[in-house]
């Protein structure tokens, strides 16, 4: 009995302790920052978070280890962040995601829009002392288009370059691939079809050059695994890499354009925990961290400077059109389900990270024809409307002869807090607007993808981020034969529009086709119902200047001057 009492007391005090921690986290920190501000005198507003103490150094949180710095194999965002600072390609994205010539001094495009002939600048050097030449590109592209390299992003090269598929399958010699070194500093790249976004591809990691000598000396298996196992040609070099802890980049003094570096040293940390990041930021141990929805109030109270951007991702509900017994083969039911979700409230009250309601499948950041953003050019195709949603839903039920009780729908989502939180919001909206009960099926990320692959779902809350800066990367996903079309949607008109757009040389006509396809898949058929274009909100200290964070460049510190 006595033991129980003590235990209860201890538990209670432990709870009080932890409550105390939560409660005082706000008030305590405010006073802390106030006092430091006061001691600095009048500049109260800007001195609360001056940043890390080291000179000429930014400490930036990357959250996790970059898994693959070998540009031939890399597919992920974090590795792309590092490669962007340490490598230069033919083109480079500026702070607005617009490609600008970098290694390519002059570019000539053939009349059919398929052949790019570029002269390369001659003062670029690899960190092993070798000059950067056209042969480095030929080597890189031929390697990525080989099965031995086993690059999971190989298709972004072999699907585009002339004879790419044949070379990959081994039915043609690698020398037949659409990339030629006409001389040491003249490169000719030939595509299978005219590609309006070719310059953007040239700025992408898979299209970076690789120094053959270094690659073979270090060995393909371990290339890019450690700081001393990679040879780079960019504005920064990797000076230190402690796995799962930090990676340090130092300004490359031999680089032909040292002025573009924002700072002498960048240290990327890898803090996995959101609270840890926040503590480290407040304690002046890191200059830039991403924030989650739960941290927005705290950041505001502490007076932390926050910024946000749309990261190009689109999150949507994908319907399994094979589920006829649940009415999901009916476009009106699907449209009703989609339109019932108040996406403005979702962004403002739930997500709170800079996300904006989706107005189509292609996010606002994606480039369109003739210098205009695609979204601005073609206008909105989807929106929230509770009244309409109810109307379509009822109409769909009549068409299928089902009753609302028959549906027994479920929504598949990620098992992380945010995935379930959002799904609960949808659940409540469906109950409120359509009066139906929808079950939530949370699964770990890989399990969710596996369920999607096997068509083992009614509706799934999923997202997509673009591979390149063109609407096609969103719109070719749902053609009948596409591997990402998990809902087994099929519409001949949509398929043919996408197929025609693939070979169309006229950018305006191509954009019209894509816009029609987008309207069919999201609005007319509602096989996919876009919810929001995802955003990222981050905290940044006063010290950081010339940092680029955009949809295609999570981090870039080479846009100075």
């Amino acid at each position: 009995m006595k033991m129980k009492k003590i235990l209860a007391m201890a538990l209670a005090s432990a709870m009080v302790l932890s409550l105390g921690a939560c409660g005082s986290s706000d008030s305590g920190s405010t006073s802390g920052s106030d006092s430091s501000a006061a001691s600095d005198g009048t500049e109260a507003a800007s001195s609360a978070f001056p940043g890390t103490a080291e000179d000429d150094t930014y400490v930036v949180d990357l959250r996790a280890e970059p898994p693959e710095l070998n540009s031939i194999l890399t597919t992920d965002i974090a590795s792309g962040d590092i490669l962007r600072e340490v490598m230069v390609g033919l083109y480079k994205l500026d702070e607005n995601d617009t490609p600008q010539p970098d290694l390519a001094e002059t570019t000539e495009v053939s009349d059919d829009g398929r052949t790019y002939t570029m002269t390369l600048r001659q003062d670029a050097k690899w960190t092993n002392g070798e000059p950067v030449t056209a042969h480095d590109f030929v080597f890189s592209y031929q390697t990525i288009c080989s099965k031995e390299a086993a690059s999971s992003y190989a298709f972004i090269v072999y699907d585009n370059l002339l004879n790419g598929n044949e070379v990959y399958e081994g039915t043609m010699d690698p020398s037949e691939l659409g990339v030629k070194a006409l001389d040491d500093y003249t490169l000719e790249v030939t595509f299978e079809n005219p590609i309006p976004y070719a310059e953007h591809l040239f700025s992408f990691a898979s299209y970076y050059p690789v120094n053959q000598k270094a690659y073979e000396e270090i060995g393909a298996d371990v290339y890019g695994d450690d700081a001393d196992k990679i040879v780079t040609n960019g504005a920064y070099t990797i000076s230190e890499w402690t796995h799962n802890d930090h990676i340090t980049l130092t300004k490359n003094e031999d680089f032909y354009d040292p002025d573009r570096c924002a700072v002498g040293t960048i240290r990327y940390t890898m803090m996995n925990d959101a609270n840890t990041r926040m503590n480290a930021f407040q304690g002046g141990q890191v200059d830039c961290i991403n924030l989650n929805a739960d941290q927005m109030d705290q950041a505001e109270q502490l007076g932390i400077k926050t910024e946000s951007y749309v990261d190009n991702g689109n999150w949507y509900i994908q319907f399994n059109t094979q589920k006829t017994d649940k009415g999901l083969d009916n476009a009106n039911i699907r449209r009703g389900l989609g339109m019932a979700i108040n996406t403005q409230s979702l962004c403002d009250d739930i997500l709170r990270n800079g996300s904006v309601p989706a107005t189509g499948l292609v996010p606002t950041t994606i480039a369109g024809a003739n210098g205009e953003k695609y979204r601005d050019a073609v206008g909105d195709v989807v929106s929230y409307n509770a009244e309409e949603a109810k109307k379509y839903f009822e109409q769909g039920l009549q068409e299928t002869g089902l009753s609302a009780e028959d549906l027994k729908l479920s929504i598949l989502c990620d098992d992380q807090t945010s995935g379930q939180r959002d799904a609960e919001f949808f659940q409540a909206q469906w109950k409120e607007v359509l009066g139906i009960d929808v079950e939530i099926t949370p699964q770990p990320f890989k399990s969710r993808l596996d369920s999607m692959k096997h068509g083992d779902f009614d509706m799934v809350y999923a997202g997509w981020s673009p591979d390149y800066n063109d609407p096609m990367t969103f719109l070719d996903m749902f053609t009948t034969t596409n591997g990402n079309n998990y809902g087994k949607y099929s519409n001949a008109e949509y398929d043919s529009l996408v197929a025609s757009a693939l070979v169309e040389g006229d950018v305006a006509a191509r954009q019209d086709m894509l816009a029609q396809a987008e309207k069919i898949v999201t609005n007319d058929d509602a096989a996919i119902f876009p919810l929001y274009f995802s955003g990222v909100t981050y905290a940044v200290s006063d010290k950081v200047q010339n940092m680029t964070r955009t949809g295609f460049q999570e981090f870039d510190f080479t846009d100075a001057k």
Binding site: I6, L7, A10, A14, L17, S18, A21, S25, S29, G32, S36, E65, P67, E68, N70, L73, T75, K147, E148, A149, A150, S151, S152, A154, F155, Y168, E169, D221, V222, G224, D225, T242, H243, N244, D245, T269, M270, M271, N272, D273, N275, T276, N279, A280, Q282, G283, P444, K446, S447, L449, D450, S451, K453, G463, W464, S465, D467, N482, G483, N484
Partner: protein, 317 residues
Amino acid sequence: MANQLRYILKRIIYSFITILVLTSVTFLLMQLLPGDPFTGGKDIPDTVMEALKAKYGLDKPVLQQLIMYIGNALQGDFGISIPDGRAVTDIIKDAFPVSFDLGVRALLFAFIMGILLGIVAAVKRGTAWDSGAMFLALVGVSVPSFIMGALLQYFLALKLGQATGVQVFSIVGWTDWHSKILPAFALAFGSMATVSRLMRTSMLDVLSQDYIKTAKAKGLSQRQIIWRHAVRNAIMPVITVMGPLVAAVLTGAFVVENIFAIPGLGRYFVTSVQTRNYTLIAGTTVFYGTFLILANLVVDIIYGLIDPRIKLTGRKE
């Protein structure tokens, strides 16, 4: 002595068999998880998928993979991590020393503090010392290391640093003593509580024995009685829990490593399962398994050394 050696040899053989079974079961079970290392948000074309599977040997039947894996493992090759291509042995070589350092510090702390607290509580039974020590122990048992870690980080690293302007404890990292105290303490706290409670009970038991009365009657001082006679006998049950405690500290390390952003093996262990990184799952599981089995073996041997009455050969498994 010969008996002891024979016993140890036998234990090593048993351990080896256990590890073999552990490897096989892990290897087969992990392939039953939904998804594979290459499952991602984007569909990978079949032809690329074939190339990927061929590269990592995943195109072969599972049993053949297992046999190849065990064959390679016996030669010290645990394969390469998917998809980053680093050798699993390199990852363990890099990350384990950090976890080990943290674990050893935590264990030392847990044992020294736990034993001292237990002794004090038993000797000063019924006093404020006793209640204080046991209250601390109860808090330790009830507050999990992730809360303890978060509290310590927030108050002692962040707030104390902000209030005094002197950063005694680092918020994150694993570099110098500034950064090593709080994580070790957070990890040790629970184990310290277990040890102190066990030690107290055991001490009370020993102190009521006849030979303690005899020692008192002989006129030995209180200090001699406690340190020479009581503690040495009372410590036995504490040694027994050392094996399980090593396990608890090792598995608990992930959470603490996460909070203090320490580049240890725990993060690899957990994320490897999430990412279906087959080679790393198998590698870390076999490694941790081997380590725990060895730790238990060492504890048993120490047991025999401290109490010669215990015949290692005679013990039942």
